[in-house]
């Protein structure tokens, strides 16, 4: 009986969540904000430096083990912050590109589709990259996916610039 009561409580929670989600969807559909104001700055070169295995090897050779582990943890936390910012920006660009996809100009539609594709891929990479970074604290795992994430971010910025040539993209490309 206790589990049945728990099921009832869970279903009520789900119901409330769904109603809130519907309300939010309704509000978001009517809200007009410039995504450029919400863009978080990402220094992609600094991120590349953080995930560079040679840089890590260099630090490992020159620092005592305890200090290296401490620095490594800090670098991983910083890399995670960069990834979260990149994923956040990708989310904002998705909303811009979704609007651009309904443009009558086929070139705008093509640019928006490429941007959406890149932004979605970047968010997928981000989903995998953060747990991998934390695993890398203890296990020597490959950094290829993190490099791919940095490349993807740069490609995405390029697509925003291309889209901005033909579509009111606000000051997004400058903010990126």
């Amino acid at each position: 009986m206790t589990i049945s009561i728990a099921i009832v409580v869970c279903s009520i929670v789900v119901l409330v969540l769904l109603i809130r989600l519907a309300r939010r969807q309704y509000i978001v559909a009517r809200r007009q904000e410039n995504p450029a104001d919400q863009i978080r700055s990402v220094d992609i070169e600094a991120f590349r430096n953080l995930i560079d295995p040679h840089e890590e090897q260099y630090l490992q050779e020159r620092l005592p083990a305890a200090e290296f582990r401490k620095i490594k943890r800090q670098r991983i936390r910083a890399a995670c912050d960069y990834i979260l910012c990149a994923a956040h920006n990708a989310g904002l660009l998705l909303s811009l590109a979704e609007a651009a996809r309904h443009s009558p100009d086929p070139q705008v539609v093509a640019a928006a589709t490429r941007l959406i594709d890149n932004a979605v891929r970047l968010r997928l990479y981000a989903l995998q990259a953060i747990p991998k970074l934390y695993i890398a604290l203890w296990l020597p795992v490959g950094r290829r996916s993190h490099v791919a994430l940095a490349d993807r971010y740069e490609t995405m910025v390029r697509h925003v610039v291309l889209l901005g040539l033909r579509y009111p993209a606000g000051s997004i490309s400058s903010a990126l």
């Binding site: 789900v14 979605v120 400058s174």
Partner: protein
Amino acid sequence: MSFLLRIAHGLWIFCALIQATLLWLVARRRVYQQFPFFMTYLIWLLLKTAVPLAMDYAPFVTGDQYYYAYTIGRAGAAVLSFGVLYELFTKTLCNHRALRDLGSNLFRISFVILLVFATALARFVPAAGTGQRMAELYLLERTVSVLQIGLLLFLFVFSRYLGVSWRSRAFGIALGFGILASVTLATTAIRSQVEPVVRSGVSDIIDLINEGALLSCNLIWLGYLLGFESTPLPPPRLPDDDLGPWNQELRRLL
């Protein structure tokens, strides 16, 4: 017939009318081209509502006949609902090239995981109550509801994380399903444990809640079908000076 049961019957009849309207709208607005499983589900839903309703008022129909009609109706609706959920997964996620294969794979993986969980739940919290035959049926319904809610929540959370935009109709269908499944989960969880042999006041209240949930779900679908597909609005401001990044890109290309 008690007062509550009379209201539940009224809602039942109203539901059948709304479902017929929904079906007409789906055919008229050619929504079946986009959501063929949803159209099939609606046809079945109308039959599932109208046939037991007619049987309930027919004096020659026995309790066993009603039970079989009710069971077949519920089983068919459960199977078709998974078709609609699959349609929602593919329509929402497969719009994007990066997610084309991921959509159907995610549906399969999450379905298997949820099936294991729901089966374990049915094994460890079996049906109780004196009305064993109906209690077992509600247990099956509870299992199906767990699967439906799990799939829908996964779809909502995943698409929200990826920032994938929902077409308003797909969102309306998913929302209606979610509300119906969560109410059904709560009521079947109670009924599978306390179902009596003879109807009681609790049965009447639960029937009323179920009919109310089905009606709300149908009205949500009707609302989203009556509205047009919304397109995202363009950003409000015209471009500021973007020359800096453009120069940077040109320099990179050169």
